[in-house]
């Protein structure tokens, strides 16, 4: 059964498509209106990271550092040290890629309330190629103490997450994609940091996904209904802190887990889930992600296909897990 708070046009042809960075940009202006301490920094990527509207509205609270992501992070830390709430934006490969140690020491170890916005993550950037496709950013951020890691599933969730992290007095990483993606949620869909949402109820197996992969998971679940396989789909947008309660419940009730993310299979959401379950409730977990490879140029959809991040692969993963569970099924 599909969550009633989701977009009713979810599977329609004319499904609404909006980019996550768009949602972030809107949320940022609202966060700026709510709290005068919110400031924004960018590294020569004002338009593509969607901070233009904020910059126009609050020119005194906007900082351009040029192509200097290491300086970006450490300056943001300094701003936070004296009470500001800095949002620093760039592409995820550069921030938190290039400036990882600056983030580790000056932001996380200092526990400064800096918001790191990594846009253009995943294979979704397409034609720019592997240099620009961040597939390691979640792993990099997830291992840092104090850090909160959020990978929203759509533009609306990105907007809600932006407003929420502005209020949280901790370092946060928000992962965004460039291209338009399906708007799965509505303004009524709950969003709370640290809380995973069940987007579809199911009893045989659970798919835990984040980012635009949540949509692929819903498609896979829908297709398997025809074979009488009941798949639970969880949107796990907060990767850290992990919603252990929801995951444990899913493990107990469905006995098998598939995770999906637009990221290296190593180190991301799947690893987080497996790390937790292996010590608490060891059951089969199949991790779907990019298998230890760099991406390449191509169109977003082509690349997802090429690197195995589609509903089809999720179905394969589900069948594998069901087999591991020793359950009989048709198909």
């Amino acid at each position: 059964m599909i969550n009633t708070k989701l977009n009713p046009k979810l599977f329609d042809e004319d499904m609404e498509m909006v980019s996550m960075r768009e949602g972030f940009g809107e949320g940022l202006v609202m966060a700026g209106e709510e709290n005068p301490q919110v400031v924004v920094l960018t590294a020569d990527l004002e338009e593509s990271t969607k901070v233009e509207a904020f910059a126009q509205k609050f020119p005194q609270r906007f900082v351009e550092v040029g192509v200097a992501e290491q300086n970006l992070a450490a300056v943001a830390s300094g701003l936070a040290a004296v009470g500001k709430i800095p949002f620093m934006t760039s592409y995820a490969v550069f921030s938190p890629g290039r400036n990882w140690e600056q983030i580790r020491t000056t932001i996380c170890y200092n526990n400064q309330s800096v918001k790191i916005i990594g846009s253009h993550a995943g294979l979704n950037v397409g034609a720019d190629g592997a240099t620009h496709q961040a597939l390691e950013d979640v792993a990099l951020m997830r291992v840092l103490p104090n850090m909160v890691v959020i990978s929203p599933c759509d533009s609306l969730e990105a907007k809600k997450a932006t407003l929420e992290i502005a209020k949280l007095k901790r370092p946060c990483y928000l992962r965004l994609l460039r291209d338009k993606t399906v708007v799965m949620t509505t303004k009524d869909t709950p969003f709370k940091i640290g809380q995973a949402e069940v987007f579809q109820e199911g009893q045989d197996v659970t798919v835990i996904a984040c980012g635009q992969m949540v949509y692929q998971a819903l498609l896979a679940a829908r297709q398997l209904q025809e074979s009488n396989i009941s798949v639970r789909v969880i949107n796990c947008s907060t990767i850290k802190p992990l919603d252990k309660k929801a995951i444990l419940k899913a493990a107990e009730e469905t006995g098998g887990i598939v995770t999906v993310e637009e990221h290296q299979a190593a180190g991301g959401l799947g690893s987080a889930v497996a790390e937790f379950l292996s010590g608490q409730y060891p059951i089969p977990v199949k991790i779907i992600g990019v298998e230890d490879k760099f991406g390449q140029s191509g169109e977003g959809a082509e690349l997802l296909e090429k690197y195995g991040l589609t509903g089809k692969e999720i179905i394969k993963g589900i069948l594998t897990v069901l087999r591991m569970k020793g359950k009989h099924f048709n198909g």
């Binding site: 020569d44 004002e46 338009e47 351009e64 034609a127 190629g129 240099t131 191509g298």
Partner: protein
């Protein structure tokens, strides 16, 4: 040094063909960067058809000069030049940015012979060039290293670590060149993050610095020859270029940093380039 008028005319004609290819490739790809590649077409032409020691039949020739493109986003000009220089079939230029292509959206060393390194993320080329140059010096190799950078790249801290390093080790077999076109994504460089006085900065770090018109073949070739003659110091050439050079509606407009021409724009651009009959007039600017 003097180049014959005929040689200059040949280089100018070649650069125009390369510019035409850049337009066609970008239009076909549907994404990519226009301004930088057009602005650097004359310098690439001079490098591959006069300055560098290289061999398209043997791209991994031990004694070749190493060309490191640090600002990888201008790779359409590198690819077009390599095709004209015989590194791969010309028609392959139309695969730029497509799935499975050797011509990745940003250059990938493992994809195409003739590329010395992977780039796109800014600010990393000068350090790699310095490593190559240091090894070359210590091995008393004859080959030289050329590092091409953009002006916005000078914002990156990593560049200045390399500037210090190359000064310390007196890497006189290293010639760096900055595409001084004054634009970056968020606007003009002097508004986004002022760089001037750039010449004096490099000089203070132990470099020999030249400033040239990056569309004047005699000046381009002359500056690389001067760099060869300088001992005890690495040389920086600040090449003043016009972003979008050769296509009137693209020139000097930072909006053209990161987008390709559409069909109509491509047609207009090609018409304009062809009407130059193989000649681009050297730019006049300050």
């Amino acid at each position: 040094m003097s180049l014959s008028a005929q040689k200059i005319a040949e280089l100018e004609a070649k650069a125009t063909f390369i510019r035409e290819d850049i337009i066609t490739m970008l239009y076909q790809a549907g994404s990519g960067h226009s301004a930088g590649p057009l602005g650097m077409a004359d310098i690439f032409t001079a490098l591959y058809f006069h300055i560098l020691r290289h061999n398209c039949k043997n791209p991994q020739w031990q004694d070749r000069d190493r060309l490191v493109l640090s600002n990888g986003h201008i790779c359409p000009v590198l690819y077009a030049t390599l095709a004209h220089a015989g590194y791969f079939p010309h028609h392959e230029l139309l695969t730029l940015r497509k799935l499975g292509s050797r011509l990745q959206g940003h250059p990938h060393r493992g994809s195409l012979l003739g590329l010395e390194t992977t780039s796109g993320p800014l600010g990393l080329g000068l350090s790699q060039s310095s490593g190559m140059a240091l090894a070359g010096l210590r091995d008393e190799a004859k080959w030289r290293v050329v590092c091409l950078m953009s002006d916005a790249e000078q914002d990156c801290g990593n560049v200045w670590e390399a500037v210090l390093f190359a000064g310390k080790y007196k890497l006189h077999n290293l010639t760096a060149l900055i595409d001084r076109n004054n634009i970056q994504i968020d606007g003009f460089t002097e508004d986004v993050m002022p760089l001037e006085p750039l010449k004096e900065k490099y000089e203070a770090f132990g470099w020999h610095v030249l400033e040239i018109d990056g569309h004047n073949f005699e000046a381009i070739i002359g500056s690389f020859e001067e760099a060869k003659a300088i001992f005890e110091k690495p040389t920086l050439i600040i090449a003043h270029t016009i972003p979008g050079k050769g296509v009137d509606f693209m020139e000097n407009d930072f909006q053209w940093h990161g987008k390709p021409p559409d069909k109509e724009e491509a047609r207009k651009a090609l018409k304009e380039l062809r009407s130059l009959q193989g000649k681009i007039q050297p730019g006049h600017h300050d």
